[in-house]
Amino acid sequence: MSRKVAIIGVGNSKFGVRDDALLQEIAFEAVKEALEDAGITQKEIELSVVGSVGTRMYEALPAVPVNEYAGFSGVGLIRVEAACASGSAALFTAYNAIASGYVDIAIAIGAEKMCEIDTSTSTAVGGRGGNYLWEFHMFGTSFACYYAFYATAHMNKFGTTEEQLAMVAVKNHKYASMNPKAHLQREIKLEDVLKSRIICWPLKLYDCCPISDGAAAAILASEDKVKEFKIEDPVWIAGIGYASDTSNIVRRPDYVGLSATVKAANIAYKKAGIEPKDVEVAEVHDCFTIAEIMAYEDLGFCKKGEGGKLIEEGQTYIGGRMPVNVDGGLKAKGHPLGATGVSMVYELTRQLRNEGKNRQVPLKKYIALAHNIGGTGHYGYVTILRR
């Protein structure tokens, strides 16, 4: 029987082009906030799990400098990698260490610097997120290409429009403009998206998340520790689902949804004992606008093929049926790979504590969902939080 695990502290650095700071200095911002939020010191922490893709950084083993700089040298240390879902993999690892009874307090740190190298190199590294030899080697498939394959197929099969994709960007920029930690803190109009330059048709510049630096941290604790610290009414991890898909994209049956999302969500819903309709606020993996539309469908927020309609109806805004990415999402808050999954949990923890300020979603059941994808559905993690 696994033990209950609570989130007792969260932190998030400013996301953006952070040429003012090293990886460990950015991670420190997130760790400091999380420690202060939890009201504990490093001495209480038994295990440090660092989620980082790391392939764009001069530090090849980033967990080591991050851990030392934040004052964790000496405690158990693991670096985990699950592409863009590395942050969720870090949380999952920390969660399991506590749920299994092995430790009582663990920290999950997601940290990534992506802006220290040029865009051409970054594109080539990102394109290696599926299968280098059989795909990138011959065809130069960038990450945008992978999601563009899905966009073309989704538009062709369901009639999803470029305008509907653009609406996702407009929504997420609106919330990023209200989030002081977001990379792109400005509102945009539908025509800004439609007129932006083509990156990989049918995806245009504003359909794509920016290249960002950033870090986030979450401190997890056992129920015993929650009682010992006299923490009233914390946020609990109600369930984590996980899945994967083929490395070679050509081995998949279709390109209109991510099976890793469907499988991970089913596991998470079952573990948490809830249904999609119980979720009141969600963070979904919107690295590209098409990804958010597919996530609506694959997570069961609407029927397959109706994701475009859901955003068109405004249902994923605050006040709608299912508010999604009210922190700006990957699309406008930014997507520093390893940080993203932890940053989703940062936002949702604050939402569940009613600390969302002008972006607070009205809650009744206090159930939130984080959906974090690595690669193009190569890894899928769905984490359900409850208070």
Binding site: V17, E116, E135, M138, F139, G140, S142, F149, N248, R251
Partner: protein
């Protein structure tokens, strides 16, 4: 100082890291027929002699029955476009490719899917479901490629 000019609004002081270049020697012993085939206009997949499972891209070991006894077969030279993109990005290593380059996923009559370039046509004139001929070429930079001709 190409690297510096590529990043946005660099205002803060930075220092340059030491150079680190990776070029990998990739073993092709177990899929050599595929790589040789590309030079002759042929695209090979593999099929497990024990259980019949077929693989594209070709692989030497069968994850279904765990045997390592594969036969090669040539994939059909015609197929239908399942999805496609037109990329304006220039990843490192593709500096000499004309943009936009069009990449498609095509389904062949023997139910395998493969990736390839579409050349000589504007992407606006390409549609999902379009029939293509499947061929190969050697690019000017020496790398092989699979090419679809509508």
């Amino acid at each position: 100082m190409k690297i510096m000019s590529d990043a946005k609004k660099i205002e803060n002081p930075t220092i340059m890291s030491r150079k680190l270049l990776f070029l990998h020697k990739i073993p092709i012993l177990k899929t050599r027929k595929f790589w040789d085939g590309l030079k002759e206009g042929k695209i090979y997949a593999t099929r497990c002699r024990k259980c019949g499972q077929s693989y594209y891209p070709p692989q030497a070991d069968c994850f279904k029955c765990l045997a390592s006894d594969m036969e090669y077969f040539e994939i059909a030279n015609e197929g239908e476009i399942v999805t496609f993109v037109a990329s304006y990005l220039v990843p490192q290593g593709f500096e000499n490719y004309q943009i936009p380059y069009i990449i498609a996923i095509v389904k062949t009559s023997n139910e395998l899917k493969l990736m390839g370039f579409i050349e000589g046509i504007d992407y606006k004139n390409i549609k999902v479901g379009m029939k293509v001929k499947i061929t190969t070429k050697i690019q000017p930079d020496g790398f092989p490629a699979i090419v679809f001709i509508p």
